[in-house]
């Protein structure tokens, strides 16, 4: 039997941590990521609470550490399509989607992107910026290898002409690679709910109602507006309100759960706004302020006392757009009256839900999901263990959690996989 290895599915912060720990312990890891770059959701954030560390600044070295690690093979733009066998010997098939640019040859110079005449909304920037048909999702992408968007590409041939390394391959085919691994760690993260269905807030209809992830891109110095918080009409806004629990703790779509991180990221976004624009008014509408982590209460105190962020308890019933695009928020601070607050921008802290495609993946892996599509635990007190032996789980895909919890969870899942690989026997002791 060859080298014993572990498959990690998902290249966000939880998956990277799991992969990195295993690799550091001398274990071969295949890190499979569905998008073009590892980094996950954290890469999209501007800063992180409660320290206001720049997200990409602290994440980028971790991404490079993973990618450069001799024991980690990073497979981006790839999906797990089949898993057979059992713990200690899973046979895995991975579909490698074609980039239409040779991964071995491309040196990331970006000449192809410069000449591409296409304009396509960039998903990484929450559709707030245009990229070419030849692109990387963001500048610090790892690996720095371009891809062609074949759905939009007109095959004009310009990129092929300018590529000095002849890396463009219009006829590249999907490839399937196979491997045998001893254990699997799933860390597929979350998507933000599209709040268009929460019609009372007018997302999609009102210009200046945006989501929290869109706000992260707006306030990010490397984002589409260079860090300027502006409405869709381009004018800098003078007042912003954040609304918590949009589509979460809400039975309409059977999503009763709390997403755990929104109270804090709204607090962070309000603090950042105040740092950029001390004169902008900031309001946070909340249900229960969930500031239970280390240093969180102190962070909220600072938001209130030092930055003047105003917290309003209550879930607005409706938002109306005025003719001047200002937004009127209607809410009820007590049972017998309705108040009105006018702001220029509303940020919806939408439910964060298990990422798209998780059901299909669970089917491939032969593990169960719970009612809300989070990975189901065999033992409710052991967050690492799925319903199938040898398949472990880490991060938000198991239940809502923040970045340090995802990292600890990534390490935790790594230790479970180490138990299989280093413990070295087939009938490894059952979890306690």
């Amino acid at each position: 039997m060859g080298e014993r290895s572990v498959l990690v599915i998902g290249g966000g912060v939880a998956g990277m941590q799991a992969a990195f720990d295993l690799a550091e312990a001398g274990i071969k890891v295949f890190l499979v990521e569905r998008t073009l770059s590892i980094g996950g959701r954290m890469a999209q954030l501007d800063k992180t609470f409660p320290t206001n560390d720049c997200a990409i600044c602290i994440l980028a070295p971790k991404m490079m550490d993973c990618y450069r690690h001799g024991n980690i093979e990073v497979l981006t733009f790839s999906e797990v399509i089949s898993v057979e066998g059992e713990v200690d010997s899973f046979n895995v098939k991975i579909l490698r989607n074609p980039r239409f640019i040779d991964e071995e040859i491309c040196n990331g110079c970006g000449d192809c992107a410069k000449v591409c005449p296409m304009g396509i909304l960039n998903k990484f920037d929450m559709d707030l910026r245009v990229r070419g048909g030849a692109y990387i999702p963001f500048l610090q992408a790892v690996p720095l290898i371009y891809a062609l968007d074949r759905e939009k590409c007109m095959r004009c041939g310009l990129c092929k002409v300018v590529c000095g390394k002849d890396a463009i391959q219009y006829d590249q085919r999907p490839e399937i690679v196979e491997m045998t691994v001893s254990a699997i760690i799933v860390a597929t993260g979350f998507d933000a709910l599209d709040p268009s269905s929460i019609t009372e807030y007018g997302y999609g209809r009102y210009e200046n109602v945006i989501t929290a992830l869109e706000f992260e891109r707006l306030i990010c110095a490397a984002g589409p507006t260079g860090g300027h918080v502006m409405g869709k009409d381009g004018k800098e806004v003078k007042s912003i309100a954040w609304i918590q629990c949009v589509g979460a703790r809400d039975m309409r779509d059977n999503r009763p759960y709390c997403c755990s991180v929104c109270c804090m990221h709204a607090t962070k976004e309000a603090i950042l706004t105040k740092e950029h624009y001390p004169e902008v008014e900031t309001y946070i509408f909340y249900t229960d302020l969930r500031c239970f982590g280390k240093g969180f209460q102190e962070y909220v105190n600072r938001a209130k006392d030092d930055y003047g962020v105003e917290y309003i308890r209550g879930k607005p019933g409706e938002i109306r757009e005025k003719e001047d695009t200002n937004l009127e928020i209607f809410y009820s601070p007590s049972s017998d009256k309705v108040e009105r607050l006018e702001v220029e921008m509303v940020v919806l802290c939408t439910a964060l839900i298990p990422s798209e495609g998780v059901e299909a993946l669970a089917g491939v892996l032969g593990v169960e999901l719970d009612e809300y599509k989070f990975f189901k635990l065999k033992d409710p007190y052991n967050f690492t263990e799925t319903t199938r032996d040898g398949i472990f789980v880490a991060g938000y895909c198991q239940a809502p959690r923040d970045i340090p919890e995802c990292i600890a969870h990534g390490s935790a899942a790594a230790s479970r996989a180490m138990e299989v690989v280093l413990g070295g026997n087939r009938n490894h002791e059952k979890s306690q």
Partner: protein, 567 residues
């Protein structure tokens, strides 16, 4: 013959992070006028794959023997650039970092011209130092393949078991006679309501039966010596001193419940804490006769009352006990007076809903108007301020249960000194990085899990136990550790053995030993963190700090004030 100094300078735009303020092309142009510079270029992101490839190519093409990057911060990026130099055969300590983002474009974002001038100044200083850098070699030392876990609560037990299953022996140290920690006092667990005793029993069995785990009960840590790979932990085991050698240490010493002496009429009888309630529920010795109303008060002593933080688990714990009482005694009124209810995540929110369905009443008070407990004719009355009605509602209570925070255990201060690891403002152990390194300490080879790090429930403590096990297994599985060569070194000819350095070293890395010439200071390289305290306190200038030598620093300082640098 002295080597010709050939420095390459790489200046980063960091997208617009630097380039939006600092005139990067002007800095590049300035760099090429400095002494010893044979190559200067700018990159959109020097840390990108493209930027790193460019550094490597330039080292080869221009035969560079020093590299200076002017970009962000060495805290995050120095390892990356050093590794890049190493990849093409340049000693990584011939790399010098200049921070023109934090120190120029960020702090002077409204003064682009002056920020650019400062970037030039910093670069000139960095290059002056770079010219005098010396190659250094990393130190390698072996790792004793075993772990010490301090504390046998649920997180320590989990960590011990996982390290043992990873193939390494573990000494699990517990100050009590029994393992199990705070779980031993609990009644039932949320969210399954299963008895804590049964839950713990299976886990204790697994720990006791594991052949690679040695239990050290009734044991207290007296001293810790050594460093990653070679720790020596001195124990007092039942009054007998024992010494244990281990490669890594995991701190899992737990927390305890705050005692609300003097608050809310606390008397330990009719006004008790949640833990006291659980002990009574567990023993079944709570006399329910005459109890019609139970009032639980959240944040008692927390969130600004005594401690500043939110203790995370008290809301769920109160909801659990309230629900269990209501289910067992449907005719008793159970109230939970709370401020922000922390039923976070997926399962806890559902559990909270179940408690409401079971008939537990939740009353929300504002934090600036906490409930007041008073005695009236021998009865307890709790005044709860009603937020919407804006008035105090007096509620009779036969039993008041205070949800008090978890606080650091009093032994922690001593242990933090022995291990030379810090406690935070909240007195809990302070991890290496709040965001990225939740279970590591800044000191290599020492890890952290469970409530010693901050309030956590059972599942969260178990997850951290596994996480610490993973981090601790890494050096054990590798069998060796590398440590940085940026350490101090003593010139024994100048040293007079005065011992000042020994007294100021925070890591116990330098000590005076007797030699034929008299007392002389010696450095234990692997323990030294390169902080420089010894060097700056040495009255004979006998201590040299590698990578921060007097010669290097003086050259750097000169360059700060002398614009025309002479090589």
């Amino acid at each position: 013959m002295t080597e010709e100094i050939r420095i390459g300078v790489f200046i980063c735009h960091c997208g617009i992070n630097i380039g939006g303020v600092v005139d990067v092309p002007a800095v590049v142009e300035y760099a090429s006028t400095l002494p010893n510079i044979v190559h200067a270029e700018r990159n959109l992101y020097t840390c990108s794959s493209e930027g790193l490839e460019s550094i490597k190519a330039a080292i080869k093409e221009h035969n560079l023997n020093r590299v200076t990057v002017a970009s962000c911060t060495p805290r995050t990026h120095e390892p990356l650039f050093r590794a890049t130099c190493k990849e093409v055969g340049l000693n990584p300590y011939l790399f010098e970092f200049v921070n023109i983002r934090d120190q120029c474009s960020w702090v002077h974002m409204h003064e682009p011209e002056r920020a650019t001038e400062k970037a030039k100044d910093l670069l000139r200083m960095g290059v002056a130092k770079a010219a005098r850098l010396e190659p250094l070699e990393e130190l390698t030392s072996d790792v004793i393949p075993s772990a010490v876990v301090i504390g046998a609560g649920i997180s320590g037990m989990t960590a011990a078991l996982s390290v043992a299953r990873n193939g390494f022996s573990v000494h699990l140290i517990e100050k009590e006679k029994e393992i199990g920690g705070m779980l031993r006092n609990l009644y039932r667990l949320y969210p399954t309501d299963e008895p804590a005793e049964e839950f713990l029993e299976q886990r204790i069995k697994a720990v006791k039966e594991h052949k690679r785990i040695a239990l050290r009960l009734s044991s207290a840590v007296r001293a810790v010596e050594g460093y990653v790979g070679k720790f020596k932990v001195i124990l007092d085991e039942n009054g007998i001193e024992k010494s244990i050698d281990a490669g890594v240490i995991i701190v899992a010493t737990g927390a305890e419940e705050f005692e609300p002496e003097g608050l809310y009429e606390y008397d330990g009888e009719r006004v008790i804490t949640q833990l006291q309630l659980e002990e009574q529920l567990k023993k079944g010795d709570l006399n329910w006769a005459g109890i019609k109303n139970v009032m639980m008060i959240q944040c008692a002593g927390a969130r600004g009352e005594v401690v500043g933080y939110c203790s995370r688990i008290c809301c769920m714990n109160a909801i659990k006990n309230a629900k269990l009482i209501k289910e067992a005694h449907p005719d008793i009124n159970v109230f939970v007076a709370h401020n922000e209810l922390q039923a976070y995540g997926e399962v806890y929110e559902l559990y909270y809903r179940d408690a409401k369905k079971a008939g537990v009443r939740f009353l929300r008070f504002p934090l600036e108007r906490r409930p007041k407990v008073r005695r009236s004719d021998g009865n307890l009355v709790v005044d709860v301020f009603h937020e919407r009605m804006r008035l105090d509602i007096p509620l009779e209570a036969d039993l008041v249960v205070l949800s008090v925070p978890l606080v650091q255990n009093p032994d922690a201060t001593q242990l933090s000194k022995m291990l030379k690891v810090p406690l935070g403002q909240d007195k809990f152990f302070f991890e290496a990085h709040v965001k990225l390194r939740p279970v590591d300490f800044a000191t290599d080879g020492i890890f952290l899990c469970g409530t010693a790090h901050g309030p956590k429930d059972i599942g969260e403590s178990i997850a951290q136990g596994y996480a610490a096990a993973s981090r601790a297994t890494i050096p054990l599985a590798r069998g060796y550790v590398h440590s940085e060569p940026i350490i101090s070194s003593v010139n024994e000819e100048l040293c007079i053995g005065c011992g000042i350095c020994e007294s100021v070293c925070p890591y116990g890395a330098i000590e005076v030993v007797e030699t034929e010439e008299g007392g002389r200071a010696r450095v234990t390289g692997v323990r030294c963190k390169g902080c420089g305290t010894c060097g700056s306190s040495c009255i004979k200038r006998a201590i040299k700090m590698y990578h921060f030598t007097d010669e290097q620093l003086i050259a750097q300082e000169r360059a700060a004030v002398v614009t025309e640098v002479i090589s």
